[in-house]
């Protein structure tokens, strides 16, 4: 077992297909442990936000582009899908796809002006653009978006089922989407494209010296994450039967950023862990709604200061240590016992 790792193997840990499949199966059984419509509904919402956070983490953590306007793509996907359901009586399945396309278009549009910018300026421009989208939706007086009151649409999916089974069906549908998105992002991150994106994130100068086009890749990263965010937005609209401008703004953004950072910015499973954890905190504090954001803020600071790479990363490290301990007799670990092979490997030197 002393085969020398090829460079690519040294960069990536093997995908844990068996463990992942077992976890997905476990997750699919959760609605039976939690046999209430309300509880399952909370889980559905959580999974929809997981899709959003996966897409955001792709552009923010993996591509390293400071995009703080992701909620604009989410809202455009949601409103676009909703409007098409109302006016074009599109079937909900197609509305999801349409939402994704809307998100992609806006993402590309948003990526173009950021091409000359870097770092904090990118975040300000994307954030400002998201604010414009929110204010335009909110101030729209022509009646298209319904303004501040929101856009009521029709509930389209699983209507024939009774409420509990409909919510369960939603749960499995969104779970499947989470799995597909997560797998797609994991594959993308391991592909040459993902390698290029992370190279540009860690050292833009080195990347472009090696012939990676920073602008094209940035637009591509925006487009991919915009598509997923648009799908998440359309899911939100179709599930709730309505969408309002309050899905955007400072408070929602702070909650999603908390989810991503707690889980681990730039790690594949981070958004899933973080979204679940934050939802758990929110549910635990449901009787004290005023304290939710206070607690979340304190947790966020504590995580950043004490567990800077997020929970998913630390959990992975613990698991790696156990695996290494189990393999200790067979092979002598080469080099320092650092998790250098992991996807989340730090951004040294920036």
């Amino acid at each position: 077992m002393t085969r020398r790792p090829t460079p690519l193997q040294a960069t990536f840990s093997k995908p844990k297909v068996t463990i992942s499949a077992a976890l997905v199966l476990l997750a699919a059984l959760v609605p039976f442990i939690y046999p209430s419509t309300y509880g399952t509904g909370v889980l559905v919402t959580m999974l929809i936000f997981t899709v959003l956070n996966l897409s955001w983490n792709f552009v923010l953590g993996i591509a390293g582009v400071w995009n703080f306007g992701q909620l604009a793509m989410f809202a455009v996907g949601g409103y676009g899908g909703g409007l098409l359901i109302i006016h074009a009586s599109l079937p909900p399945w197609l509305a999801l796809l349409a939402g994704g396309i809307g998100g992609t278009l806006l993402a590309v549009l948003l990526a173009l002006p950021t091409l000359r910018l870097f770092g904090i300026y990118t975040s300000l421009l994307t954030f400002a653009a998201a604010q414009v989208v929110q204010l335009v939706i909110q101030n729209d007086s022509s009646g298209t978006t319904g303004g501040a009151l929101g856009l009521p649409t029709v509930k389209g999916l699983f209507e024939s089922l009774d409420p509990l089974w409909a919510t369960r069906a939603w749960y499995w549908l969104v779970l499947a989407i989470v799995v597909v998105v997560c797998a797609a992002i994991a594959l993308l991150a391991r592909s040459p494209l993902g390698l290029a994106l992370r190279t540009l994130r860690d050292s833009a100068a080195y990347g472009s010296a090696r012939g990676i086009d920073p602008r094209g890749h940035r637009v591509l990263a925006f487009a991919i994450s915009g598509f997923v965010a648009g799908v998440a937005g359309a899911l939100y609209t179709v599930y709730n039967g309505s969408i309002s401008p309050t899905v955007m703004g400072l408070t929602p953004m702070s909650i999603y950023v908390t989810m991503i950072v707690i889980g681990g910015l730039g790690s594949i499973t981070g958004p899933i862990v973080g979204t679940a954890l934050v939802t758990a905190i929110q549910q635990a504090l449901i009787d004290h709604p005023g304290t939710q954001l206070t607690v979340l803020g304190v947790v966020l600071i504590a995580i950043v200061v004490f567990v800077p790479r997020g929970i998913a990363f630390e959990a992975g490290r613990v698991r790696d240590r156990v695996v290494r301990w189990m393999n200790e007799e067979e092979e002598v670990p080469a080099g320092p016992a650092s998790p250098e092979g992991r996807l989340v490997a730090g951004r040294e030197g920036t």
Binding site: L125, L250, G290, L293, T294, I301, R309, G346
Partner: protein, 295 residues
């Protein structure tokens, strides 16, 4: 004529208040490379301190300004120590992004604590001084606006003097220009950084008292000023003090003109549109210097 006059009057008032908030943000960015998202909360806290001193305790408005200055100074120092200091020089993280997020978390905590303590209701804060000068037809200039503008200008001027003349000011500028060289010259970094954030927050706190007298004190009172201050600092070029002050009045003018000629609800979208354009055409802001060597 009366349109133009009223635009000018609100430009001066709005510009002065925005200038105060943006001054703090740009200073913190210039020195610490932190885009401090908690500045909006300092505005909000300043408003509540003003309300507590003036309405609850019934004391003089001047005392309210001093109290707000002191309270937000302490809060700014605390924010720096808790959410920025531990991250300085840490390997493997992007300092600018991670402090953007932690100061954001501080803002979350502060505004929700305010919500818990003071409730969601807007609190009326009395004027600093009553009365007004009649200018033209329906346009009048309240004394309050004159006083606020004067204090804001005095604070900006005082800050410029402090930075250019005093020992600490020179130390702060040295840190902004070259951290390592400043350290080698014996500048106590661990004292300078909290001090900068304290002063910047204190200025935002004073702006908060002013804003509360114009509008209300409420837990969300800091959101809009934060967004506007972000626009101002981009427009002026992050880290540039002169740029921020010029930009504050320019943004005040755009907002006032948009409110009069278009409508108040579209003033903010227009501002954001302007800022997106500015970033596309001139990414480094109107001050136009490179990212290094500011201040």
């Amino acid at each position: 004529m009366s349109d133009i006059l009223s635009i000018l009057v609100s430009t001066v008032v709005l510009g002065s208040i925005y200038g105060l908030v943006a001054l703090g943000m740009t200073l913190i960015y210039g020195i610490l490379r932190v885009l401090d998202m908690s500045q909006g909360s300092m505005v909000m806290v300043g408003g509540f301190v003003g309300w507590a001193v003036m309405t609850s305790a019934g004391l003089s408005p001047w005392l309210a300004i001093v109290a707000a200055f002191a309270a937000t100074f302490a809060l700014g120092v605390l924010t720096q120590v808790v959410s920025v200091q531990p991250l300085i020089g840490r390997r493997g993280t992007d300092f600018e992004m991670i402090t953007f997020i932690t100061t954001f978390a501080v803002a979350m905590v502060l505004s929700n604590l305010a919500l818990q303590f003071f409730g969601p209701r807007q609190k009326n804060v009395p004027e600093l001084v009553g009365g007004s000068i009649h200018l033209y037809e329906s346009v009048s200039l309240p004394y309050q606006s004159i006083v606020m503008t004067a204090i804001a200008l005095a604070l900006m001027l005082g800050f410029a003097l402090f930075l250019n003349r005093s020992r600490y000011g020179i130390a702060i500028r040295a840190v902004a220009q070259d951290l390592d060289a400043a350290r080698l010259m014996g500048v106590p970094i661990k004292r300078v950084f909290p001090l900068v954030m304290g002063f910047a927050s204190a200025i935002a706190g004073v702006a908060g008292v002013f804003l509360a007298t114009q509008y209300f004190a409420s837990p969300t009172a800091g959101d809009q000023p934060l967004l506007i201050a972000l626009i101002v600092v981009i427009f002026g070029g992050l880290g540039s003090l002169q740029g921020a002050i010029v930009a504050a009045y320019a943004i005040g003018l755009i907002q006032a003109a948009a409110s009069v000629y278009v409508s108040t609800t579209w003033a903010l979208p227009i501002l954001y549109g302007v800022i997106v354009l500015v970033l596309i055409i001139r990414p480094q802001g109107i001050a136009g210097r490179s990212l290094e060597a500011r201040l």
